[in-house]
């Protein structure tokens, strides 16, 4: 049994692994080309409220 195997739950080792894992995921993502016109799914939405102009039209 190696030292590496013995300490699978060592916090320092886990921290290194977590960073490596995130870096590996980032590399795999970046390897996927996305056409420049592709936007992410929309999350932001303007708040719905009636503008002054719309209120005047209603009146």
């Amino acid at each position: 049994m190696t030292e590496e195997e013995r300490n699978i739950d060592d916090p320092a080792r886990l921290a290194d692994e977590a960073r490596e894992n995130a870096d590996k995921a980032a590399s795999e993502l970046r390897a996927q080309r996305v056409p420049i016109e592709t936007e992410p799914p929309t999350v932001f939405k303007p708040a719905l409220s009636v503008s002054l102009a719309e209120r005047e039209i209603e009146q």
């Binding site: 699978i8 692994e17 977590a18 960073r19 995921a25 980032a26 390897a31 996927q32 799914p41």
Partner: protein, 476 residues
């Protein structure tokens, strides 16, 4: 009806018993409270019993039934999440119900308990099933095996017959895995069909709440009660759910074109699970005979979903991660994962999100040729309670089989369906299809386009009318 007769009843059976006055809602609530009190600890399934509230709600349900105002869920007990399974939040009390809980209450359901879950729904990536304030979720079919996560208590409690249904949450696999491992039926709704207001957020763009029950029909009854518009959740679509009935359901099942990849079973199922899964697929083919070979696009589903929920989860829990209470979390790997997630670059998060757009386009093209995708629920049975879930090199012993959830590319079939389905925000139903050679349940999943829940339920319900896997009960 006594306690043993109540245990393992479906919500539909209980509704019938209540209408016929074979049992009162109060007696039913007491029976489930007793079951949860006696057996909940055996499975680490219960976070908190709620006897006073349950009995109050049950009396109210009895009054409604006396006036013949009871709905399909009147008097039926259920579980609901609150403590987030995490020691830093062990004393957290909310002043109001989540929308889902309020809607169930309005439908006449009785809240008997808050059920256990993996801490923070597993955000950061946990190593051991013990990553929960309540301890590892134990499987009703073998308590030395895991119930699955992150909705571990919901899986255990429904599988053990301690409640007729529960609510689970899924970011990527957290309704599906416990449903498959515990031999129950779970429905992950389309993103935005069910309001998430009041539920713990792990990932704003991935989280869904859905029913876990003994049958597809019970899932439909619960979904009908909880779906719909909510001004408290800006992502709520406003759509409702209505199940297909009678001839429409039968016809839809017969006409549905089913995408399937043989290698999901032949190549990727564990040796223990393979035969039962093959049999399940053959049975399903008798219900819906039009099978078409079709597979998911080759995309890095694992890195995509991991990057999205890690980045969003790290922002949601940043105050916890950078505060003193963080050390109270149980799982050391999860803590390391949450800390590392704070450093994810905006460009990588946005790249993953743009890939989601590409995935949605690819799936829309796929669903022009097929109606649903059929695959294994999980390719293996529940893992031992002490087994690490991320396959690190174990001290001495053989390396455990790899987790094939996020496979992608040639030869992968549709093994990435859980991650892909969650990334695309599309619905899935998980249902049992038999038992592996190790005596544990295995199941299948059906995934359809957005808001195709009526078809998914019709197909799973048709399967359950022709088979009895969902009726099997673990030994008491």
């Amino acid at each position: 009806m006594n306690e043993s007769e109540v245990r393992f009843c479906t919500a539909a059976e209980l509704a019938s018993a209540l209408r016929r006055r074979r049992i009162s809602a109060l007696e039913l609530a007491r029976a489930y409270l007793d079951l949860l009190k006696k057996l909940g600890p055996k499975y680490n399934a219960v976070a908190a019993l709620m006897p006073e509230r349950a009995l109050d709600e049950a009396r109210r349900a009895d009054r409604a039934l006396a006036k013949k105002n009871g709905g399909p869920l009147t008097g039926a007990a259920r579980g609901a999440p609150t403590t987030w399974g995490a020691p830093p939040y062990r004393d957290q009390i909310f002043g109001e119900d989540a929308t889902t809980v309020a809607r169930l209450r309005r439908a006449g359901a009785v809240l008997v308990a808050k059920l256990a879950m993996v801490e923070l729904a597993g955000g950061g990536g946990y190593r051991y099933p013990s990553a929960s304030l309540q301890g590892p979720g134990r499987n009703p079919w073998n308590i030395e095996r895991w119930s699955g996560g992150s909705s571990s208590g919901s899986g255990s409690a429904v599988g053990a017959g301690l409640v007729p249904f529960a609510i689970g949450s899924e970011t990527s696999g957290s309704i599906g895995t416990p449903s498959a491992y515990c031999g129950i039926t779970g429905l992950r709704p389309t993103y935005g069909l069910v309001s998430r207001k009041g539920a713990m957020a792990l990932s704003w763009t991935l989280d869904k709440l859905g029913p876990m029950a003994r049958t597809a029909d019970d899932c439909a009854t619960v979904l009908e009660a909880i779906a719909g518009a909510d001004t408290g959740d800006p992502t709520a679509s406003g759509k409702r759910f209505r199940p297909l009935t009678g001839r429409a359901a039968t016809s839809a099942a017969k006409r549905a074109r089913i995408a399937f990849a043989d290698e999901d079973v032949s190549e990727h199922a564990s040796p223990e699970a393979r035969r039962a899964l093959e049999k399940g697929v053959a049975e399903f083919k008798r219900i819906a005979p039009t099978f078409v070979r079709a597979t998911l696009p080759a995309m890095p589903f694992g890195p995509m979903v991991q990057t999205v929920y890690s980045a969003e989860g790290a922002e949601i829990f940043a105050e916890l991660i950078e505060g003193k209470r963080f050390e109270q979390l149980v799982d050391a790997r999860q803590k390391a994962g949450l800390q590392a997630a704070l450093e994810i670059k905006a460009r990588d998060y946005l790249h993953a999100m743009r890939l989601r757009t590409r995935l949605q386009d690819a799936l829309a093209a796929m669903f022009r040729d097929v109606d649903v995708i059929l695959s294994v629920g999980r390719a293996m049975t529940a893992t031992p309670i002490t087994q690490p879930l991320d396959n690190p090199a174990p001290p001495g012993g053989p390396k455990p089989p790899p987790d094939k959830r996020n496979l992608s590319g040639p030869g992968s079939g549709n093994m990435g369906l859980i991650a892909a389905g969650n990334l695309a925000g599309i619905p899935a139903i998980f249902f049992p299809c038999g038992f592996a050679t190790d005596g544990l349940p295995v199941g299948l999943q059906l995934v359809g386009p957005a808001f195709s829940e009526p078809l998914l339920v019709a197909l799973a319900s048709a399967y359950q009318r022709e088979t009895d896997h969902h009726l099997k009960r673990p030994r008491a």
